[in-house]
């Protein structure tokens, strides 16, 4: 069962990632990236990370990709024009990618002591101790400060996004000023 689910969703993942590269229209790339992220959520479930699977669907497939699709619609992004690309990309980039992948694959396939994933087995096999309990125990005891600092980071990101996307000196004509005239 685990093997079938793994092959099914790893296949979805790879198909989505390749489709992202092949498609020329940004909206098609965005939709195939949603497929990749949702299949990754299922793979997280297979690896016993229930909380991360749900967070992946809500944060990535939900929030981040909606933002991407929204920007594609807002900027009316059309079909991209294929050019030859830069010289550095073809001379250095692609050999570097092949070398990187070969290195990673060699390390992964030769490393000793990696086990096998068993369905239904998580971080802890104690009954009544779910993945979420383990996660929150560490997160809210040992890592409370980094967790709180991240909220400041997100606040700064919101302010930065508003400041960047805001046009200087532009006034939206609202109904109040229109009524005064």
């Amino acid at each position: 069962m685990h093997l079938i689910l793994f092959f099914l969703f790893a296949g979805f993942c790879l198909a989505g990632a390749i489709n992202l590269l092949v498609q020329t229209h940004p909206i098609n790339s965005a939709l195939s990236l949603i497929v990749v992220m949702t299949s990754l959520a299922v793979l997280y479930l297979l690896l016993g990370a229930e909380f991360l699977a749900i967070a992946q669907i809500i944060v990535y497939s939900g929030a981040v990709m909606v933002l991407f699709v929204f920007v594609v619609m807002l900027l009316n992004a059309g079909r991209e024009e294929r050019t030859l690309g830069s010289l550095a990309a073809s001379r250095v980039g692609f050999p570097a990618v092949v070398a990187l992948f070969a290195l990673l694959a060699t390390i992964v396939l030769h490393v000793q002591g990696l086990g096998a994933a068993h369905l239904g087995e998580g971080l802890s096999n104690a009954p009544g101790q779910s993945n979420l309990v383990l996660l929150s125990q560490v997160l809210f005891h040992e890592l409370l400060l980094p967790f709180e600092v991240t909220s400041v980071l997100i606040l700064i990101a919101i302010l930065g996004a508003v400041a960047l996307a805001h046009v200087e000196g532009s006034k939206v004509p609202n109904s109040e000023t229109a009524a005064q005239k």
Partner: protein, 106 residues
């Protein structure tokens, strides 16, 4: 039906993660649209997250999953700021093609 009972070696998960990361790098190199280039970066982040979850499973260590949680939060913030920058660039240059946004190119 012994085929159904088989477990999946963790190295396959790591291999999938490596393939996804490489596809992300290739997308970063061949894509000519700023938004799709940005999507390739998100794909690379996701590939690394899969490695983290796999190693967390291998070592029964919950901190690997917490790191993925932090990566997700930072990626969400990064997507918001990055897309705001893309909107600001589009307003000035009226194009999304990376070849046309070359003011700082040598």
């Amino acid at each position: 039906m012994s085929f159904l009972q088989h477990d999946v070696p963790l190295s396959w998960y790591l291999l999938l993660s490596a393939i996804l990361f490489s596809l992300g790098v290739v997308g970063f190199l061949i894509k000519r649209n700023v938004i799709t280039v940005f999507m390739s970066i998100e794909l690379m982040l996701n590939a690394v997250n899969l490695s983290f979850v796999t190693f967390a499973y291998q070592w029964h260590e919950v901190r690997g999953q917490i790191f993925v949680f932090f990566v997700m939060m930072v990626a969400a913030a990064e997507a918001a700021v990055g897309l705001a920058i893309i909107i600001a660039v589009f307003r000035v240059r009226s194009t999304l093609a990376v070849d046309r946004i070359d003011l700082m190119k040598l």
